[in-house]
């Protein structure tokens, strides 16, 4: 089990390094999923089974699907890759040094204080008892957090209204607005559904029985469905 931990940690670190250095965004996303799965293995070895399962279901599942949807909607071509390939050396060096300094400091901290060995881990039931015992207020606050994410994403992701289209078009020539508006409209709707899906998956993970009738679950759904 010990070697499993070190191997999967190595995979996680390598995959993460590949994420931040890829020029192709879809490749980066795939490496990110590998990295998240490797971290899930780490969590499992540490005995945090619930966290490991949720890492797979929500992080590598729901959140990554959101990313994939957005990338597909953008329909990114070669132009993006080229743009990223050009500006490189100075920024990379500075950021590399900065991150390396932070890393060196943190590793120094860890080495100076190795801490206790990892314990036997925790039963998911213990987590549940805590969530609906002393942490019940935190669960409610988390549902409010999701609610504000939902409202914000709804407002920003919604397709352009007809009123907005006529009243103020500061940029964007009239020529491309006719062809350009059709695509975002349809896709914006798809995106809304995805967000809803992600949040519903989220709620069913740990929030479904929240006291107070699950604010995040029931509140925003009607708004989401409402035609603008």
């Amino acid at each position: 089990m010990t070697s499993v931990f070190y191997i999967s940690s190595g995979i996680a670190v390598l995959a993460t390094l590949l994420v931040v250095t890829r020029t192709n965004i879809v490749h980066a996303l795939l490496f990110l999923i590998v990295s998240l799965l490797a971290v899930a293995v780490d969590l499992f070895v540490l005995g945090a089974q619930l966290a490991a399962a949720l890492e797979v279901i929500i992080y590598a599942g729901a959140i990554m699907v959101l990313f994939i949807f957005v990338i597909m909607m953008m329909n990114l071509g070669k132009a993006e890759q080229e743009a990223n390939r050009h500006r490189r050396s100075p920024a990379w060096l500075a950021a590399g040094v900065l991150s390396a300094v932070l890393l060196a400091e943190l590793i120094y901290v860890m080495v100076a204080n190795p801490g206790p060995p990892v314990g036997p881990g925790n039963d998911p039931r213990e987590v549940a008892k805590l969530l609906y015992g002393p942490y019940v207020l935190a669960v409610e606050l988390a549902s409010l957090l999701l609610l504000s994410g939902l409202v914000g994403a709804y407002h920003l992701g919604r397709p352009e209204q007809s009123r907005a289209g006529t009243a103020r078009r500061l940029d964007g020539s009239p020529a491309d607005s006719s062809s350009g508006s059709a695509r975002p409209t349809g896709l914006g709707r798809a995106e809304r559904k995805t967000q809803l899906g992600a949040v519903v998956a989220e709620s069913s993970g740990h929030d479904s029985a929240a006291i107070g009738g699950s604010n995040a679950g029931s509140g925003p759904v009607p708004t989401q469905e409402e035609p603008s």
Binding site: V19, L46, L102, V111, N122, A138, A142, L156, G172, E202
Partner: protein
């Protein structure tokens, strides 16, 4: 199990630093968001590592960080859509008109 918790924290620190590197160096907004997710994931791992010898509190914090990641990424991706509609690019340096 004889993995020192410090080793887990080192892994988390490496992930955090990598994510920070990504946030600073990448110009593509989607990759910046991914790097933010990496950083949050690193912090969540650190909480589980810190708590695994002391009851389930670490996992509770992990769950709460997960909700944060979901909320942040949903607003973030909605902003990405707006950026793309307005500038027809995902390059964050396109949206850098304000100076002074």
């Amino acid at each position: 199990m004889n993995i020192p918790a410090g080793h887990v924290m080192i892994v988390a620190a490496v992930l955090l630093a990598t994510g920070l590197f990504g946030v600073i160096v990448r110009r593509n907004i989607v990759l910046v968001l991914m790097s933010l997710e990496i950083m949050l994931n690193a912090a969540a791992l650190a909480f589980v590592a810190g708590g695994s010898a002391r009851g389930a509190d670490g996992q509770v914090m992990f769950l709460l960080i997960l909700t944060l990641a979901a909320a942040e990424v949903s607003v973030g991706l909605a902003l990405v859509l707006q950026l793309y509609r307005r500038f027809k690019t995902l390059d964050v340096s396109a949206a850098a008109s304000m100076k002074g």
